[in-house]
Symmetry: C2
Subunit: 258 residues, 2 copies
């Protein structure tokens, strides 16, 4: 079922693996597979078959080693997860070409949308827990890009960190339902809306009078976008958040003037 963050893997070992220290061994046979191979194979399996298919045996087989040889390269499965996360984050570690011409709102919108699509490309990320903050090079680079969206606006360091974190948290929460719907669609070939009519009759004789607002709003929303439109909800909340950010930035600018 789920995630082990137990006190097992030495966090220092993970740091070493992520930053590529502890390499170039002097003796012993040539490794049949590299760490990069293993992490890449795990990501590939997760993308195509889902995170539950990422077993130590499957990963080992994918890179052509025996099941237990996996542990020669990675301390445990928990560390594999962290390595997968940092590795895949490389996709969000670069600024787009027109970055210099964008204002802060365009930049934050870009970052949010980029993260949105990133999570939909790798929906398994949404569903696993790490044991410690990931301090890998790609995670760092991605944080750098996000911070640079807010440079020179008069925000202090704390406000910049909190803004970037809050934006990222929001996307993570909002993408969850989209990722779920997408994964289920891929697995079953059935969208949420296709499934709805088959259970509607069962709800027909439920008494909804205790939920007057919910049934009214739910009905109108249902006529507009069926069981839900995760992307629309995402964009709506993003605009509210950015409006709030604009207020903060404006306030800080006025403080700076006086």
């Amino acid at each position: 079922m789920s995630q082990e963050f137990a006190g097992k893997g030495d966090p220092r070992k993970l740091i070493e693996l992520m930053w590529g220290k502890s390499r170039a061994p002097r003796r012993g046979p040539k490794p049949k597979a590299s760490l990069e191979d293993i992490v890449a194979a795990a990501i590939s399996i997760a993308d195509s078959e889902g995170i539950e298919a990422v077993s130590t045996r499957n990963v080992a087989e994918a890179v052509g080693i025996s099941p237990m040889s996996f542990y020669t390269h990675v301390p445990s499965k928990a560390e594999l997860h962290d390595l997968m996360l940092d590795q895949v984050t490389a996709e969000s570690a670069a600024r787009p070409d027109d970055w210099p011409t964008m204002n802060w709102r365009q930049r934050m919108t870009f970052i949010a949308e980029d993260a949105w699509h990133f999570y939909l490309r790798h929906p398994w990320i949404v569903q696993f827990q790490t044991h410690r903050p990931i301090l890998g090079p790609n995670t760092m680079a991605s944080y750098e890009v996000a911070l640079s969206a807010l440079e020179g606006l008069g925000l202090d360091e704390i406000e910049m960190d909190l803004s970037v974190t809050a934006l990222h948290n929001y996307v993570l929460g909002a993408v969850r339902d989209a990722a779920r719907a997408q994964t289920v669609l891929e697995a079953t070939g059935m969208t949420d809306d296709e499934w709805w009519p088959s259970i509607e009759p069962f709800l027909a004789d439920v008494d909804f009078s205790p939920y007057p607002l919910a049934s009214h709003v739910g009905r109108v929303a249902g006529e507009t976008y069926g069981l839900g439109d995760p992307e629309r909800a995402f964009r709506f909340g993003l605009e509210r958040f950015l409006d709030g950010m604009a207020m903060l930035i404006e306030r800080k600018k006025q403080q700076h003037v006086t």
Copy 2:
């Protein structure tokens, strides 16, 4: 690792279970355990030992039936998860006493904080995926409460639905890191900040020059709240979102006047 949303369990069966139809069987022996017992036992195990301890065997043992008897009551483990989710949501299905005296911002703040604490009480919720939207009675009641925070402000049904969804999504994303830190603390007795010094030396000779902003901001933030302060980040983002909501509500009011 994670969740099965496969096309297995008949969704109609789940609806029946959640709304308490399909009860009062005419014949056969008295069940040794009720559905309520089973779901309650599963929630209790998840709360105290984590979601990974919620195995069909453990749940069966907790209610005093043999492993396979579990399947007499619940079609599969996926349905158990959905039932757990709706059941536990009963905690957020009531308005506080002073609700009538609160304005919309106080109400939304209450809902966000209530959800925040709810997730920290049941951190396992954050880490599992459902296969379909949960349409249970308690989920419905909780949605009703959230909507009633925005009644009579001039928002249309769609805006109300999107606002409630966005707020909920935000809390879900923001609580993730707090839940992780809490779970790791319980499992290992070590906070994120206690762990940090032990790996700091390993990062000492990493070249951080590619991340100038990140290392500067990270250093100031680190001096202020160590490796991170999830609750502070949550409150910061919440205020920004609510500021944005205030702008929307104000705009709608002015539209209504003209």
